[in-house]
């Protein structure tokens, strides 16, 4: 008997859609032919597994949604330990490691202190010089990914002139705060614009730039912008592991483009520990594009790529966003930025994640 036919029969049998007469025949067949019975058992098992799989998947999704809701209500607290509590917590967590580390450190420091003191002055000076030299060198090698817009781009009504540059940014707070690259805002003349996936233009201004991490925070300053209540993705605080899968959404063209890759190194250009090296296809215009992992957490922000090597892309670590916010808090108290903290994208298929995500990734345009 054709196995496909049997498969269909088993499914109908399990669902109870089999007419009584066929059912008798079917059961008779199982009894008389052990090989058929064996197949039926296998198929039944497969259907059960599929069914259970579907059940657990749906249930997991409900769990994530409930979690997101309760986190917003504050029933589930997000990771926010401060001051004393944090120290106590860290102490508890690492007391064993600290004990070991402290004893090693003690021995090491005594034996090497003399040497270090003797050499510190010299080494520092020579390092510094080297660094400056290298910086210029590497700077020229790196392509900033801000794209020059071709003149063929149709001008939009809000623009008096055609925009020259295009990059990417994404929301970190539904009130209209976006993250993009510092080199983007440094290049653009104010006023510049951000455009969502529906093609709506909004005026935006720079709130803060940090050239070290090459990140900047923008705020949409436009009455037509409506606050978006919950962003579905969270911003990751910890480092990713090597080889973890990542993907990115950006505007190397005038439409949003999806790219997939993996984490190749935990540091960026010149050993920069605030950045990652990724392998993913990016092009001019991807500057400021969010990098997400499979759970839908933002793990980084695309910044640049190596000119002379293939597929070497650098991204600022998402942790930098938290540092930026700390810095903003110190300089002004008018900006109250609240980062999203729970990924509602977890457990979703990639295409569904991207579908949800698209809304929050903006094109940054300006002269």
């Amino acid at each position: 008997m054709d196995e496909v036919l049997l498969l269909e029969a088993v499914e109908r049998y399990l669902k109870g859609e089999m007419p009584a007469q066929e059912k008798i025949f079917f059961e008779e067949l199982r009894k008389t032919k052990p090989e058929v019975d064996q197949l039926v058992v296998e198929h039944t098992f497969l259907f059960h597994e599929l069914d259970r799989h579907a059940g657990v998947k749906a249930y997991k999704h409900s769990l994530y949604e409930v979690e997101t809701k309760l986190t917003e209500e504050g029933i589930i607290s997000k990771q926010q330990l401060q001051g004393k509590a944090k120290i106590v917590f860290l102490w508890k967590k690492y007391k064993r490691n600290i004990a070991v580390a402290a004893s090693i450190a003690g021995i090491m420091s005594i034996t090497t202190a003399g040497l270090i003191i003797a050499y510190t002055q010299k080494v520092n000076e020579s390092n510094k010089e080297d660094l400056i030299g290298k910086w210029e060198n590497t700077n020229t090698k790196i392509d900033k990914l801000t794209d020059k817009i071709q003149t063929s781009t149709t001008a939009t009504p809000t623009f008096t002139t055609t925009p020259d540059y295009r990059a990417t940014g994404f929301l970190i707070d539904g009130k209209g705060y976006l993250v993009t690259n510092a080199h983007v805002v440094n290049r653009l003349k104010t006023p510049f614009y951000v455009v969502n996936n529906k093609g709506d233009y909004f005026n935006a201004e720079t709130v803060y730039t940090d050239n070290n991490s090459d990140l900047a925070i923008l705020k949409i300053n436009d009455t037509s912008f409506k606050t978006i209540p919950n962003l579905p993705y969270s911003i990751r605080k910890n480092d990713l592991d090597l080889a973890e899968e990542i993907y990115t959404l950006g505007f190397p063209r005038n439409v949003i483009v999806y790219g997939e890759g993996y984490l190749s190194a935990k540091s960026g250009n010149d050993g920069d520990s605030t950045a990652y090296q990724l392998t993913v296809a990016v092009n001019p215009g991807n500057s400021g594009a969010p990098v997400l992992n499979k759970n839908g957490e933002v793990v980084g922000i695309i910044t640049s790529k190596e000119k002379n090597a293939d597929g070497v892309v650098y991204a600022a670590k998402s942790m930098n966003i938290y540092k930026l916010l700390e810095a903003i808090k110190k300089t002004s108290d008018t900006q109250n930025i609240k980062l999203p903290y729970n990924s509602g994208l977890r457990g979703l298929d990639r295409s569904q994640q991207v579908k949800k995500m698209e809304e929050y990734v903006f094109m940054v345009l300006g002269n």
Partner: protein, 188 residues
């Protein structure tokens, strides 16, 4: 309504993926678990993970229909979380004794064993689904996971009619079966 009857209702809700039941259980039990994890050198992210896993254990138990409430729901969840967290700590070699010495948990080892088995089956199925390729993956996903109608699927995937889509679906199932069982037997 008595406490016991109420908890039984909640579990029945869980079994049919009722959002309200899930939320109620979260509200009643999550703070306790979070406090426990934080007290025992964990953080809130880890607390969330552990609680989630416990909720899946609970779901599996509820679905199986053999849930005898011989203890309070709270005690059960606490016991599962405690066990899961101990395992996690030992894996990370961070376990240095409990902060409290009170162990009022009930034995859950058997349930967790079943859960591990289910979990590995879940991963196997997930892997098999990822390996069958397109359009099979989307097709089976649409029918079995998203529970769409064959008619709808035929339209979405561009088959001329539901029967064609059905034939394709069975072909895909055969592939899935092959891959799934190959892995399954390897894993045994």
């Amino acid at each position: 309504m008595s406490n016991l009857a109420q908890e039984k209702l909640l579990l029945e809700g869980l079994a049919v993926n009722d959002r309200q039941a899930i939320e109620a259980i979260y509200r009643d039990n999550y703070p306790m678990v979070q406090a426990f994890i934080l007290n025992n050198s964990g953080n809130t992210d880890e607390a969330r993970d552990i609680f989630q896993e416990a909720m899946i254990v609970l779901f599996e138990k509820a679905v199986s229909g053999h849930f005898e409430l011989n203890c309070q729901l709270k005690t059960y969840i606490y016991s599962v979380c405690r066990r899961l967290w101990l395992k996690r700590l030992q894996q990370m070699q961070r376990f240095a004794g409990w902060a409290d010495n009170m162990d009022d948990s009930v034995p859950v080892d058997e349930d967790l064993e079943i859960h591990e088995k289910h979990h590995s089956d879940f991963i196997l199925m997930e892997n098999a689904m990822n390996k069958i390729g397109e359009p099979c993956k989307s097709l089976l996903d649409a029918y079995y996971m998203q529970k769409k109608h064959m008619q709808e699927i035929a339209q979405e995937f561009g088959y001329t009619n539901a029967d064609n889509a059905k034939t394709q679906k069975y072909k895909c199932l055969m592939r899935l079966k092959k891959i799934f069982f190959a892995q399954y037997k390897n894993g045994q």
